[in-house]
């Protein structure tokens, strides 16, 4: 009940924001404002103009996107799963990647933290920029990138360890030593994922004893323990019931409010509408349309998007 109420409240806020006509200037917790309106093109169809705009950004003074891709294509062997996707993600915003099954949205997401490198036979072409720094040319360590770009998977996949060890696992391996530091980090991360109150008395029990929704929030906490500034989520709620889904959505919103840049794949249009600031529609391996969420649902431009939203395809 509580969750439902909270969510309804949030929906209203979102609606207001949507109607305000400028989704980019949200001021979560009143803490931050964008100095300049980021030049996310409301209707990017991969045109040269828009690509140039958000890769250089020079005509827009100083803005550099947290994460941006330019003409990213993904090949499995000879099969082209994704063709030339260009998109930008900013701090404090939630971007929903939507589209029918097999449209390349998860493939795209997995390119952003170079996870596709772990898939044999998979190659990623194009440019992936993290704070303006090219990361897809082999010049950076995927290990380093991934601790700044966290990921949450479709199925909750906690390790076979205690709740505490799940969260502390990666920081320990990345060099956090002190017990005090770890304890603090674990608590902070679990609070980020809105799980702390539920598990603070049983941190030593197995993570597998948690419910599906709790496991997924644990996975969020596990990713947040590295203090990333980007969180990639691959259909994080598809294995969960509606209540657990709303809890995750709340978590996502509060993470964005802290300034985290969230990219979330979802096949659920209502979820995209509830959670996201910006939507990107993928269809048959192509990024078709990008727009602020409100405008996207009210007034899709591309006929393929219109067909999809009206249920004619997908």
């Amino acid at each position: 009940m509580n969750v439902m109420n909270r969510n309804r409240r949030q929906l209203t806020v979102l609606d207001l924001l949507g109607r305000s006509g400028d989704t980019r200037t949200r001021t979560p917790r009143g803490a931050r404002t964008h100095e300049s309106k980021p030049d996310v093109q409301d209707r990017t169809n991969g045109s040269d103009r828009s690509v140039q705009a958000w890769t250089n950004g020079s005509d827009r003074s100083v803005h550099v996107h947290t994460l941006a891709t330019k003409d990213v294509s993904v090949l499995y062997g000879d099969h082209r799963a994704l063709q030339g996707a260009s998109l930008a993600f900013d701090a404090g915003t939630v971007t929903a990647l939507i589209g029918p099954s097999g449209c390349g949205k998860s493939t795209y997401l997995r390119s952003l933290n170079l996870m596709n490198r772990e898939v044999p036979g998979c190659t990623v072409e194009g440019s992936i920029l993290y704070h303006g720094q090219e990361v897809n040319d082999g010049s950076v360590d995927s290990f380093a990138l991934r601790r700044h770009v966290g990921m949450v998977f479709q199925q909750p996949n906690p390790f076979r360890m205690s709740i505490y060890d799940n969260v502390a696992f990666a920081p320990k391996r990345h060099g956090v030593k002190g017990k005090q530091d770890l304890d603090e980090l674990v608590e902070k991360s679990l609070r980020d994922a809105a799980l702390w109150d539920e598990v603070k008395d049983k941190l030593a029990t197995s993570a597998l004893a948690l419910s599906g929704g709790q496991q997924q929030r644990l996975c969020i906490a596990r990713a947040m323990a590295l203090r990333p500034d980007v969180l990639l989520m691959d259909e994080p709620c598809s294995a969960l019931d509606p209540i657990a889904t709303l809890a995750i959505e709340d978590t996502v919103r509060s993470l964005a409010a802290q300034g985290i840049c969230v990219a979330m794949v979802t096949h659920n249009m209502q979820q995209a509408a509830r959670v996201s600031d910006k939507c990107a529609f993928f269809y048959l391996g192509e990024l078709v349309e990008t727009a602020p969420t409100q405008g996207f649902f009210d007034n899709p431009r591309d006929p393929r998007t219109q067909d999809y939203l009206s249920g004619r395809v997908g």
Partner: protein
């Protein structure tokens, strides 16, 4: 400006060691210090210690693979080298080697005819599989199709145990049980191809049966349901739908059994009689490639023509086992080509 916004959140976090300072914190610092177009400090995106760790792990495990592959290559080269020496260095005629009926490395005029052993090996292999196959298939059908509870609770453990029984124990059983039976029945000493085949049949039985059971289990349940849905009896469903679908797998099982029978040495050597002459019948002393190798190698000094001739027998064994592997692959590939599945 976007990156700056994350600074507030980062400030609440516990102090982390330098190596882990979140990118959020750094971007905030950077944003304060320099124009945003300046590329991110490359150090943020490099993790040399992780890269070193990964490289070390890859080297270490790669070395293990290298050792395994090197050992196999050395084995094949070594056997081929010493075996081919019989033909290349000692001038044994390969055709005469394969077809010659006399094996007398120590006679005045040394003769290296491997036909008795090759025939002996083929005979025990063929006979043992002929004995084992029908029983194996019948047992597998019963244990998988008719009474799965008996299959999983009694039969499968018995097969696993039987598969683990060492070959010398089979040889011992051959000596104490099979030889007397054969001797009584035929009025001979009992040693020979027949006794060897019976012992081998017991050895290949668990191999063929287990693999056949796996194959039958892998036949989709829908095949059975489709057959039963057409009004067929269970027996008709087994014979008409399940067995044909499992045929490639059963053939594979048979070939694996043959490979085991062909390469088995001690159990056969103990009961086959060890007389390197062309077998005249199923009873009466005979020899196989493996039995001659087992008996002979102790008596030959390395590097002599007689030793090379023995290595040539080992080479025949090696080639045959590679042929068996090839057949298994061929069956698998053919089934895949036909039905799109392995």
């Amino acid at each position: 400006m976007a990156p700056e916004t994350s600074g507030a959140a980062a400030a609440e976090f516990p102090v982390l060691p330098v190596g882990l300072t979140g990118a959020a914190d750094r971007t905030a610092e950077r944003a304060a210090a320099a124009p945003a177009e300046t590329p991110l400090d490359p150090a943020v995106l490099s993790a040399p210690e992780k890269r070193r760790l990964e490289r070390r792990g890859k080297l270490l495990t790669g070395a293990c693979v290298f050792v395994v592959m090197g050992a196999v290559a050395a084995l094949i080269v070594s056997v081929a080298w010493q075996g081919l020496a019989a033909f290349l260095a000692d001038g044994v005629d390969p055709v005469a080697f394969l077809t010659g009926a006399v094996w007398a490395p120590h006679a005045g005029e040394a003769a290296y005819g491997a036909a008795p052993m090759i025939l002996g090996s083929l005979a025990v292999t063929a006979l043992s599989c002929a004995f084992a196959l029908p029983v194996s298939v019948a047992c597998a059908i019963y244990a998988v199709e008719v009474s799965p509870s008996f299959g999983s609770r009694v039969f499968r453990p018995v097969m696993e145990l039987l598969a683990g029984v060492p070959s010398v124990v089979f040889g011992l059983l051959g000596l104490t049980v099979v030889i007397p039976l054969v001797a009584d029945a035929t009025g001979t000493t009992g040693y020979g191809i027949l006794a060897g085949a019976v012992v081998l049949a017991f050895m290949v039985f668990p191999t063929i049966t287990s693999l056949t059971m796996d194959t039958l289990k892998a036949v989709p349940q829908s095949y059975r349901e489709a057959a039963l849905g057409l009004g067929l009896t269970r027996w008709q469903a087994i014979c008409g739908a399940v067995l044909p679908a499992a045929l490639p797998g059963i053939l594979t099982a048979l070939v694996m059994g043959m490979a085991r029978a062909f390469g088995e040495s001690l159990a056969v050597q103990m009961v086959v009689g060890n007389a390197a002459a062309v077998p005249s019948g199923l009873v009466g002393p005979a020899a196989t490639l493996t039995s001659v190798l087992t008996m002979g190698m102790a008596n030959e000094a390395p590097g002599t023509p007689a030793a090379h001739a023995l290595w040539a027998l080992a080479l025949v064994l090696l080639v045959m086992s590679l042929v068996f592997v090839g057949i298994v692959h061929w069956i698998g590939k053919r089934a895949e080509d036909r039905h799109g599945t392995a």
